[in-house]
Symmetry: C2
Subunit: 658 residues, 2 copies
């Protein structure tokens, strides 16, 4: 109903022709109607007492893909679809290799009368061999699958070594290479099209706003530009706007040309942090006390490097205390000391640093510290109150307290520069990992729905404290004595969405997936293996490889590309205007700001410090598009501008034709 | 002794100062003396009845690295050494993360009194938790390590999901990214230095050979050039030499400039296949019979596409027959039919194709076919003779027959073009994979030696037919009831080099490595885990990642870079001179050659066909250096030539200073 309402509203807003031309809308209509039909059939069958399959549920995630907000997701899907033909051929060759090796294994081992540890005949059925060797590709049954042959003769190890080398190492690397290469190629093409479209629109905007200046060149005046920027980004400060303008209009001419104009969106994508250097509120309220020699001494101590080292040491001691038994009263009382120490640290930092700067949006670690320490304090007090009042300790609250205590230790990472760099890179690629999170959720949902239709209720989990004898075999006699039941995997089932997702995650991790698969084939049919093999191909071979490819690419970008041209010129401008915060301050702004204040105080430089400062949030991009664009910037920028300049009315290129 | 003799010989040949300046020689001397000392100590201890450790054995593979032939290996080692600092920091962060999660796990699960399936207390000892969670990173104990907590509460699955996401997926990808990036960077630098050194030497050669021509430019005459090429490549045909000359000297001036001259080694590295179009010997001997209408008909049939399809079909039918039970007389007789069919195919192909062209060096598939079929024929006849004479069938010969039969089926891959492309790429990167093979052998050898010192004789393998009760626990009571003995892993031991290597391979494949490690810790000490963890870090995290990185890079090169500039100009020249074999012939030359012959016969074109033809062995490089150079060619060629032109007496750059 929500999606229907959304669609109806959308259809009302945009023109009729456009609405029907967009395949997304048609797709949504088809899915909604199919779901409706399915619901009617299902209800009909149920009331008639028949068995019904809710097949339309697998279509649901496609709604998510087709709404406008799912742009990143749609692009990821499109990239996969485009890479499929290439992957398909490698996959065929890979399957051919597996089939050949299976045939050889049948001939070599089938007649030797070997047995596995479980006493099952070894390698006598061709289809079983194919499955076993497919599992070996995922390494999940290594070295067990080899042991009977290896025990018989050491020479047979050669067969398995060659198999693993070719199929596990070489073919899996080739899959990664093909997926990575195709993914990159198509993504590049899409981003290229996007950039082109953006440039084209900017040129249209330019032709609307253009005036003819003193020369014959068409230009855009500052007034028009200001109007535009205010419309596009309503919250922008006028100082920030002036800064951006000054990047383009170096000589203060009051107008900019076409080339500068079309770079506006890229410039707006660079995140500039505006900082107002305000005096510390304590200084404003109690200037005498704040500037007294004691206060100055405290400020100097807190700014000293030793302060950081002492707190790193405290964190390490705390780690040891956490590891010890918390039921010892000494240890549990020490916790209060540590909490107090952390609180004092935050208060001291706030004493030297202006609160609004300390808690500005980009001070990740300050926020992290404060939230963790305050939450730990609240939880510990709550826990203490509970236990001292009734002697009763809530396990849940204690768990939260423990997690918060350990999380506090992560802070130590921030004091080592090399670690900070790696962590920052990881935080930067966070949003893109979220896109992949969506992608995996969609794929998981589809497989979970199919899995629930196939295996729901076949395997039951009985709580560990139950005395029911069915616990032994997961409530299904067919599982009696299987590795699935022996390993206590009963809770890995498809009985509800949550356990299905966790099971699928275990299958993604690959290890023991053949045991999990064997459990479900035991309770249904041997053909259920197809479900698990298909899942492996789709998720592990395709999607995980794309994930790895993306992390690789993002790291290479971080390592190689330093800054875009625009970013550099913006930075230069900021430096030129002496509005920059020293780059040393990166990551630990509070200290640097205070240093500046302090310098002012002690040496009394006559030169007025500007009350407003800028800093570029170095490589952090507002949008995933920005990161992608930067990834391919080296290939894009020049030709695209050229092409656009030569042919500004270039027709909208269709992606399919490229 | 061999190495000492080699070194002495080497010391005699090259000047004394040079000998002592080369760290490789000093290294070899040190290793040999250490080995000698070790041998003396060991023999002394043995005769005195004490226990001795042959510690110098781990140094042996370093001899292999330090001899001149180990250049590729040395380079790979150097790349790894250079990448180590970067990897180290990521590794520290990764270990920090594992330690944090372990602490959290201890706090969350330690007091809950949970038990694993084996009835062991769950997550109560911090060091055990660290090891278990390290194993989880390798995925080897997933999902078993999670099950007790998951059975207790579904919420605890979140802990493991977050752990796997961060440590298995993200950190392992980051390792690949860092290894790949560093490896590429340093390799590039090394190849750059190599190319520079080569260019410098060519410039020196140029200054020796140069003459001043008509202009003021120094040039090298054709006579000098010919002399040089003959000295460098004694076996080169004069036609090939002429072709190479004509690439540089387009206008037939008789001399070439500096820029052309220094490209000579690159040109010589391009493999040109010289083919003489000879008439078929049967045509020479029995012209009438060979040109008769029956003969022509046979020739046309064999060249027809249907001929290939029919044989593909025969191969598929053969595959089915192989899969069936060979003890059925119908099936075993059918084998003779198939053998005869394959023989007929080869003979027919030889009938239409000149034998020397058919068996030329680059006709991989022709060679493959013939060897497999002839070997299968010999083995089958041998086997038949044995079984019909004494009724006794040798299992070994039968194994060989089976393997050859299955290998025959691989031929079908060659008829599908897409598969051929992938296979060709794989064959091309073969030599580089061999370099990695050496690298892995060296590392394996070192670990095998250490492992043998630590664990030799601790685990014994008793043959499966033995009735000794010790079979149950691998001849060591400490293993009674462990997963190691239950899984029948007794043959995975360090008792000799071969089983050590196979065991290390199993550890490289990762799955079940914790079970293997637990077996060896059970018979020695819990500290033995360190050996297995170090092996995992060195081999899986560093070396396998480099292997994957290299395959990725090689595939990208195959996908993106098409041909080098020189190659293109050489090809153009060949085409210009009309000496080319049509590109359609690529990979199936026999047919194309015959087509040309045939054309001549039927249409009697007046134009004389040249009796000599050239073809570039497209992307196949003679040396690994060539492939590496090509990998980084885009960045190299231009600046290097420029730099050299400006400063031809540039001092030898030391790699360490870069």
């Amino acid at each position: 109903m929500a999606f229907t309402a959304r669609l109806t509203h959308y259809a009302k807003v945009i023109p009729r022709e456009k609405f029907w031309l967009d395949p997304k809308n048609i797709f949504i209509i088809v899915i909604i109607s199919l779901s409706l039909i399915d619901m009617i059939i299902y209800v009909g069958l149920k009331t008639a007492g028949h068995f019904g399959v809710r097949w339309s549920r697998v279509l649901r995630p496609l709604l998510l893909v087709n709404i406008t907000e799912g742009r990143q997701l749609r692009r990821a899907f499109r990239s996969i679809r485009n890479a499929l033909p290439q992957i398909f051929y490698v996959f065929l060759l890979f399957m051919f290799s597996v089939l050949m090796f299976s045939l050889m294994a049948l001939k070599l081992f089938g007649k030797r009368g070997l047995e596995t540890v479980e006493g099952i005949k070894y390698f006598t059925n061709y289809l079983e061999i194919v499955f076993d060797l497919y599992v070996l590709v995922t390494t999940a049954n290594s070295p067990d699958v080899m042991m009977p042959a290896y025990n018989y003769s050491s020479f047979f190890a050669i067969f398995f070594i060659v198999y693993i080398l070719i199929n596990t190492y070489i073919f899996m690397s080739v899959f990664l290479a093909v997926v990575y290469n195709n993914y990159k190629k198509y993504l590049k093409e899409e981003v290229r099209q996007l950039v082109k479209a953006k440039r084209r629109k900017m040129l249209l905007a330019f032709s609307v706003l253009q005036q003819f200046g003193l020369g014959q060149e068409p230009v855009v005046s500052k007034a028009h530009w200001n109007q535009l920027v205010c419309l596009v980004q309503p919250g922008i400060s006028s100082a920030h706007r002036e800064l951006l303008w000054s990047v383009f209009d170096d000589n203060n001419k009051g107008y900019i040309g076409k080339l500068e104009f079309i770079q506006l969106p890229d410039l707006l994508n660079i995140q500039v942090i505006t900082m107002k250097t305000r005096p510390h509120p304590l200084k404003r309220w109690f200037p005498a006390a704040y500037d007294s020699s004691t206060s100055r001494f405290v400020q100097r101590v807190v700014q000293h490097k030793g302060f950081v080292y002492i707190y790193d040491l405290i964190i390490l001691v705390n780690a040891v205390f956490i590891g010890l038994d918390e039921e010892n009263p000494l240890i549990s009382n020490a916790e209060w000391v540590f909490l107090a120490l952390y609180l004092v640290e935050i208060l001291l930092k706030l004493y030297i640093c202006e609160p609004r700067a300390f808690f500005s949006r980009h001070e990740f670690w300050n926020w992290f510290d404060t939230i963790i320490v305050v939450a730990a304090l609240i939880a510990t007090i709550f826990n203490w109150a509970l236990s001292s009042s009734g002697g009763y300790t809530s396990r849940q609250i204690l768990d939260i307290v423990f997690i918060l205590r350990v999380l506090r230790l992560i802070r130590v990472v921030d004091s080592i520069k090399r670690f900070r760099t790696i962590i920052n890179t990881l935080i930067k690629i966070g949003p893109t990992i979220l896109t992949f999170g969506q992608l995996i959720l969609v794929v998981y949902y589809i497989f979970a729905m199919v899995g629930m239709e196939l295996f729901k209720g076949k395997v039951r989990f009985l709580p560990p404290d139950s005395t029911d004898p069915q616990k032994e075999y997961c409530g299904n006699l067919l599982l009696k004595g299987t590795a699935f039941a022996k390993n206590n995997y009963c809770k890995n089932n498809f009985n509800n969405v949550v356990s299905s997702f966790i099971l699928l995650l275990e299958l993604t991790v690959v290890n023991q997936w053949h045991v999990l698969a064997s459990g479900f084939t035991a309770v249904t049919h041997v053909a259920a293996r197809i479900y698990f093999v298909v899942f492996h191909i789709v998720v592990v071979i395709i999607i995980i490889n794309i994930f790895v490819a993306f992390i690789l690419e993002a790291f290479f970008v971080e390592y190689t590309v330093d800054k875009s041209v625009l970013q550099t010129s913006l930075e230069e401008k900021i430096e030129e205007l002496e509005l920059n915060v020293s780059s040393e301050a990166d990551g630990n702004l509070g200290d640097a700001m205070e240093t500046i204040d302090n310098d002012l105080g002690s040496s009394q430089t006559p030169k007025e410090r500007p009350s407003l400062m800028f800093r570029i949030a170095s490589k952090r991009y507002k949008t995933v598009d920005g990161l992608l664009q930067r990834m391919f910037e080296a290939d894009l920028t020049l030709d695209d501008i050229d092409e656009q300049d030569e042919n500004p009315t270039f027709a909208n290129p269709v992606f399919g034709s490229v």
